[in-house]
């Protein structure tokens, strides 16, 4: 969602920049005759700038649009830094009840389980999504001689499966990034 918004706004901003720059360049080289008349024209003449100042709507509209831009930009900026991890998730208890599980608790369990895997040096987990449909995001630092394919298979069959069962989740979609801990080559000679 946030990624989509980011990309849409970036593409719109980019197109606006390209378009305005291109209009000026094309007008200056005589390729374009509107909205500017020629290379001697100016970007914003005194008359254009003050054209609507006499009307009653001009300033309220300018101020309103600017305020809207400021608010949207601040919201957009905050969305980039906000922690979107799941605080709680709903666990189906046996007796028709629902229990709440702290997101951090499950994150720590998954990370600790993942660190037990052969070939995993260090693991961090973040739970995202909604309380009833959580998603896990894992970062695994691989130790020397890890086999990435095996790590992934075990992650799926042992770690995530255990998390699914213990939290009573029918599904726990996960995204894993496997990195390496830099190390020197251990040469056999």
């Amino acid at each position: 969602m946030r990624a989509t918004v980011n990309r849409v706004v970036l593409v719109l901003t980019g197109l606006a920049l390209v378009l305005s720059g291109a209009v000026v360049l094309c007008s200056a080289t005589g390729l374009l005759h509107r909205p500017y008349t020629g290379r001697d024209d100016v970007l914003l003449s005194e008359g254009d700038r003050t054209r609507y100042e006499g009307t009653s709507w001009w300033w309220p509209v300018v101020i309103g649009v600017l305020a809207l831009i400021v608010l949207c930009a601040l919201w957009w900026l905050l969305a980039q830094v906000r922690d979107r991890r799941l605080r709680r998730l709903a666990v189906d208890a046996d007796d028709d009840g629902m229990a709440l599980l702290r997101g951090r608790a499950l994150e720590e369990i998954i990370a600790a389980d993942a660190e037990q895997l052969h070939g995993v040096d260090h693991a961090t987990t973040a739970l995202m999504g909604t309380p009833t449909a959580p998603r896990a995001r894992l970062q695994l630092a691989l130790s020397p001689n890890a086999v990435p394919g095996d790590v992934l298979a075990e992650l799926d069959s042992a770690v995530l499966d255990r998390a699914r069962v213990s939290a009573g989740l029918p599904l726990l979609p996960a995204e894993a990034r496997l990195r390496a801990v830099s190390h020197r080559a251990a040469r056999v000679s």
Binding site: L17, V18, L44, I63, A174
Partner: protein, 194 residues
Amino acid sequence: MSELGPSPLPPRHRSRRRRFWSPRRLPAAITAALLAVVAGLLLYDIAAVRAGRPGMAWRRSLADELATRPLDDPWILAVACVAVVLGLWLVVLAVTPGLRDVLAMRAGTAPVRAGLDRHAAELTLRDRAVEVSGVRSARVTVTRRTATVRAVVSFRETEEVRADLAAVLAEAMEQLSLARPLGLALHVRRMGEG
């Protein structure tokens, strides 16, 4: 020095795993901050002038510049060029996936989407390569399509080492379990040569 071009990819392991897409947080944050600052300053000054206070000097001089400099003024042209380049760059950022360092891995049965860092792939292949007897050192570079392995051989016949290396690396690359298997470019040279 003998060479082997990228080998053809085994077709049976190609699976339709989508690439990892960057959320583009940093460009978004910078654009948002700039927008907020520019619009906020303008809003503040306009409101101040509306409230009867004197406007800031930069707005008066900016209005003067805009009203006097012709379109073919070097400054105007420079700013227009910068706007075009910056805009194109933003568009490219918006439509490309980014995260070129993350290689998508093959899916298992469960809904796990995994990506392997290029650097991790390089280290794994290097570790396997130096285990081959006769290999003194190996440098591995992994791009999105190809793993290039440069090995230095200290003893044994170069061609024998090459064959062993090719077999070991083929197995190691299989174990990386990438959605799009890498091609292998293997360069073997004897120590002290080339």
